[in-house]
Every structure is written in C-alpha cells, then in structure tokens.
C-alpha cells in the first residue's frame, strides 16, 4: 500500500510520543543509577542529574560488604525460589483436576474456590489465624498463606483447556492414570504458562513486604523490601548512624540509591526474557472463558 506523505509524518509523530513515554519510564532509574555512582561532594552540592559525577563504586562496595544486606538478599532469593516452586505445585494440583468434566462435585468445588476471590475475611481475622497457628515470627508465614492465587489458577486452567482433549483421551484408552496423564502430557506441554506464573509468583514474593511487616518482628527474617522500607524511612536510625561513613549525608544518599538498585536488579534482568510468555498469560487472565 502506498502511504501518503501526511501518513509518514504521522508515523514519526507516534514514534516521538513513544520515545517520550519510554524516557519517562527510564528517567527515574537513570537518576537513581547516577546518584548511586556519584561522589558525595557532588550530591551535597546538588550537581547530579542523570549522569554520575565523581564516578565511584563506594556505595556498592559498602552495600556488598555489609552482611545485613547480603543476608537479606540471600534470604529473599531463597524465599522467592521456594515460594515460586511451592506455588506452582499448588496451582497445578488445583487446576488440573478441574478440567475433567466428569469429575463429580466439580461445580461445587468451583463455587467453593470462586467465593474466596470475591470475599475476604479481612486483615485482622487473617492475623488472628496466623497467631493461632503459631506462624507469627515464623518465616513459613512468608511462604504458606499466599501460596496459591485463584486468579493464577484460572489462568493455568484455561491454558490446560487449550490442550486438545484427543491427546488425553488416547492416553486414557492406553490405560494411563490421571496422574500419569498430568505428568506426561499436561506439564510438559504447559511451559509457557509455567513461565508466566513463575514470573508472577516470583515478582509477587520478591516485591512483597506487607506480610512481613504484619507477621514478622524478628529483623533476621526481614525480606529485602521491608529492610529497604526501613532504610528509606530511617527506621533503626541508631543502627544506621553507627555504621561507618554514614555521618556524611551525601554518602548515605548514594548508599540509599545503591540499595534500591541492588534490590531492583534481579527482576530487571529476568522479566524482558519472559515477555512473550507473560503477555499471553495476562491476556488469558482477562478473557477467562
């Protein structure tokens, strides 16, 4: 198709808008990166914009040599891996049986599950339950209570629905058990949905801090985001002040920037590679049946 000249100009206008939008998305990150790499004098003199001045890695070496951050980072990483695997198992266990139309009680089970999506007992009842179960201050509280999202289960189930019934039926005729069908047909064919949901669960856990805020008092079990929250709000000032170099406000600012960077990077490295999967997942969640 031959485009008129005005259409070509129009194309470039949209390109320009998109460049602007991308810049708005990236600008805060660039600013943060520049600050984390800048010398404290330049920060105090308010000279750092989007490019580091007095380039140095002092803030990063401070972060990486402080056991408090390393510990929290490793703890959160392990937590994220454990939660993601556990959540995927639970989600699969729930989604797979529900695709069988012959399953007796399927409708009741579906209603039972759907109700939990719309009605929540509330923060305090949940808190009292954790207390009754002895989960307060127990790191398991960061794994178990949110181990399955019904929303994600629905995404997985609709993916399972998309796998042709004929595959399953021929396996059934060959005498394969339902368990065998799950492990040899459904799970191997569902890599895209596993990738999507793994990303959702992992990001949720890595970024989550409210459960730790409510249920964990022992700072040894603080996930990275809660530690970061406390640092940004200067909670535990005494601890911060006693640390070497913290007396200079400039360094403390670049240090804060470095810590924010430090807790963001893992996700920024992972998500672009999974883009084609999660786009599919989001779309499936929105147009459920």
């Amino acid at each position: 198709m031959i485009k008129s000249k005005s259409a070509k100009v129009g194309d470039w206008i949209f390109v320009l808008i998109c460049i602007l939008v991308s810049a708005i998305c990236l600008l805060p990150m660039l600013n943060l990166l520049a600050r984390s790499l800048s010398g404290s004098d330049f920060l105090i003199r308010r000279e750092v914009y989007l490019w580091p001045k007095g380039l140095n890695f002092e803030a990063y070496t401070t972060v990486l040599s402080d056991m408090k951050y390393i510990r929290s980072f490793v703890f959160t990483a392990i937590l994220t891996v454990v939660c993601t695997i556990f959540s995927l198992v639970m989600t699969t266990l729930c989604a797979y049986p529900l695709i069988f139309e012959n399953l007796k009680g399927r409708n009741i089970i579906n209603i039972f599950i759907t109700i939990t999506m719309f009605f929540n007992a509330g923060t305090i009842p949940n808190y009292l339950l954790m207390k009754a179960l002895g989960l307060i201050n127990n790191p398991l509280v960061l794994v178990i209570p949110y181990c399955m999202s019904v929303y994600n289960m629905i995404i997985m189930r609709s993916f399972f629905y998309g796998i042709p019934d004929s595959l399953r039926e021929s396996a059934e005729i060959d005498g394969a058990s339902f368990f065998k069908i799950m492990t040899s047909i459904y799970i191997p064919l569902s890599k895209p949905v596993f990738a999507t949901l793994a990303l959702f669960y992992a990001v949720g856990r890595w970024n989550g801090y409210s459960d730790a805020l409510m249920f964990i008092n022992d700072s040894n079990y603080y996930p990275l985001q809660l530690l970061l929250y406390n640092i940004l709000n200067n909670i535990n000032q005494v601890e911060v002040a006693t640390q070497e170099g913290f007396s200079a406000p400039g360094l403390s600012e670049s240090l804060k920037a470095a810590i924010v960077m430090f807790s963001t990077v893992p996700i920024l490295l992972i998500y672009p590679g999974l883009q084609k999967y999660f786009i599919h997942g989001v779309t499936m969640g929105a147009v459920k049946e």
């Binding site: 198709m1 639970m90 266990l93 529900l98 949940n126």
Partner: protein, 318 residues
C-alpha cells in the same frame, strides 16, 4: 453404594457404580486435596474470626466465648462511623480510587492505541519492554525512586525547578501535591502493563475492516475511532466494571509505602487504618468491623457493577 446418574461420558461406557468411578477418579481428588485444605484453612477459617466484629474482644477467651458487644453487637460499627480517622480513611479510599479510575483508566487505552499505530515492529517491541518495567518494581522501590525525584531540596525535579528560578514543589510533603504524586506514580507503574490486554484485543480485530475503511478513504484517526475503539469496547467495559466494583478495595502496599505523617489526612486509607489501629493498636473488634464493612460493601459494588454491565448489553465479568 448408589449408582451414579451421569449423563454423557467421553468414552461410551455402561452405567458405572460409584466404586468403579472412584477406582479411576480417586487420583484427581487426591491431587485436589492439598489446594482445598489450603483454601479452607487460609480463606475460610479466618471467616470464623469475623464474629469478633460483633463481640468484645478478649485475649483470654476463644472467639465463641467472647460476650456480644453493646447495641446488639453493632457497637463497633457505630464506633467506627464516629471515628474521625475512619471517616477520613473511607473518604480517601473512595477518592483515591476514583481519581485512579478517571486518570489511570484511560492511560493504557490511549497507550495501546498509540502503540498500534507504530509501523516499526522492532521499535514497538522495545517501547513495550520499557513500558512494562515499572510494573515489576515494588512500591518500596518506587517510593525510593520518588524520593530521589521529588525530595524538596535535592530531588531531581526540584533541583531543575530551582535552577530555572522556580519555587520548589512539595510533591511528597503537602496534601494536595501528595495526591497528585500518588496518582501519577500509579499511572506510571501500571499504564504499560494494563495496555497488554488492550493490545491483545486490538490484535483480534478483523484486518479486513481496516482495508475496507482505507478503500473508503478513512484516515488514521477515523479508523481509530470507528474500528479500533468499537473493537476493544467489550474489553474496556469489562475492565471498567472490575475497577468500579473495586472502588472500596484498598491495596496496602502502595499507600503504605508512599504515605508519611505530613499527609496522613489524605493518605490514610482503610487498609492502612486497619493496620495501624488493629495490628499496631490492638483494637481488634473495631478494625475487624471495618474490614467486614469493606468486604460486604465491596461484594455489593461488584455485583452492582456487573449488573450494570449486563444492562448495557455487555458480557459482564461472569
């Protein structure tokens, strides 16, 4: 054991007895057991504690033994509505959600329409990847970014403003500006991610419609208005309904991370009110009542919004 009254079965069989059925299907129930136990324990058992809203909380008694609160058990609901902080939190929850809806809802639709006009596919992909990035940041991190951008003395934007001879803007420390910052950061975080659904809907539109329109001499904006927008209208309505149904919902992470003591009059929402007065302040009955009020009214709004969508001739969300 009673015989099953099943209708059609995929593989034609004679009427099965329950025993035969279970011999084959027990595995599915076994698989379901763990998720169902999980839902019972962590979603249904907490509902038992809801009665605390109607009772005088006592740490030594079980939930069932606690005495009924005054005013036929509604004492704490009355107290909540006499509590100035709660009224503010209620107002803020609805107000911030409405602003999110008015400003935040159209943003991804517009962004999807713009992306759809891009002719360079590689470029489009890069823009998308960048626009999805903020969605993957936690609210604590976004707060950290906001501090570096908006801090009164050394935030990037205020540095630029002072250099240009303007006065600094208290983005985070003054109520009115805080609301703007809160809404703006919300749009920043979600517009890219929320555009995914609309892009998928646009991809589903029949391309022949565009070709026919071109033949008829329709320009870019005519096509956008008469083909693309009507094509994604069902998606827009469904998401609008879900958002309206959630008007009393309150996320915890975002307001809690962004709020500070200077702006509490506009920043305190129901979820943070419950945290502060319940988990920190130990007023369990009051905050359970508040939570129950929020859940019940929330379900009501959702049903109402869905009903309206159906009246408008759309599919609704279920």
């Amino acid at each position: 054991m009673k015989a099953s009254k099943k209708k059609a079965v995929a593989v034609p069989q004679k009427k099965q007895s329950f025993g035969v059925y279970m011999k084959r299907y027990w595995q599915l129930y076994a698989l379901l057991a763990l998720p169902l136990i999980y839902l019972v324990v962590f979603k249904y058992v907490p509902m038992v504690y809801i009665q605390i809203a109607f009772k005088k909380y006592s740490i030594v008694q079980s939930v069932w033994e606690m005495p009924l609160a005054a005013n036929h058990g509604f004492e704490y609901f009355i107290k909540a509505f006499k509590n100035r902080d709660f009224i503010y939190a209620l107002r803020n929850t609805v107000g911030l959600n409405l602003l999110d809806l008015i400003i935040g809802f159209p943003a991804p639709v517009i962004f999807a329409l713009i992306l759809n006009e891009l002719v360079f596919k590689r470029f489009k992909k890069v823009v998308q990847t960048i626009a999805y990035m903020p969605h993957f940041l936690s609210w604590v991190i976004i707060y950290g970014l906001a501090l570096q951008l908006f801090a009164p003395s050394n935030g990037l934007i205020n540095m630029v403003l002072t250099n240009l001879g303007f006065e600094t803007i208290p983005f985070l420390n003054e109520s009115k500006h805080w609301v703007g910052t809160y809404i703006g950061l919300g749009v920043w975080q979600s517009f890219g991610w929320n555009s995914i659904v609309y892009l998928a809907a646009i991809a589903g539109i029949n391309q022949e419609l565009y070709e026919a329109a071109s033949v008829d001499g329709a320009g870019r904006f005519k096509k956008m208005w008469h083909i693309t927008l009507p094509g994604i209208k069902p998606t827009i309505v469904v998401l609008l309904v879900m958002n309206l149904g959630n008007i009393l919902g309150s996320n915890f992470d975002r307001p809690f991370a962004l709020q500070n003591n200077l702006v509490m009059d506009v920043a305190n929402v129901i979820s943070t009110f419950v945290y502060k007065n319940g988990i920190k302040g130990l007023q369990f009955s009051l905050t359970t009542a508040v939570g129950l009020f929020q859940s019940v009214v929330g379900v009501f709004f959702l049903l109402l919004a869905n009903w309206i969508a159906r009246k408008l001739g759309e599919r609704g969300i279920w």
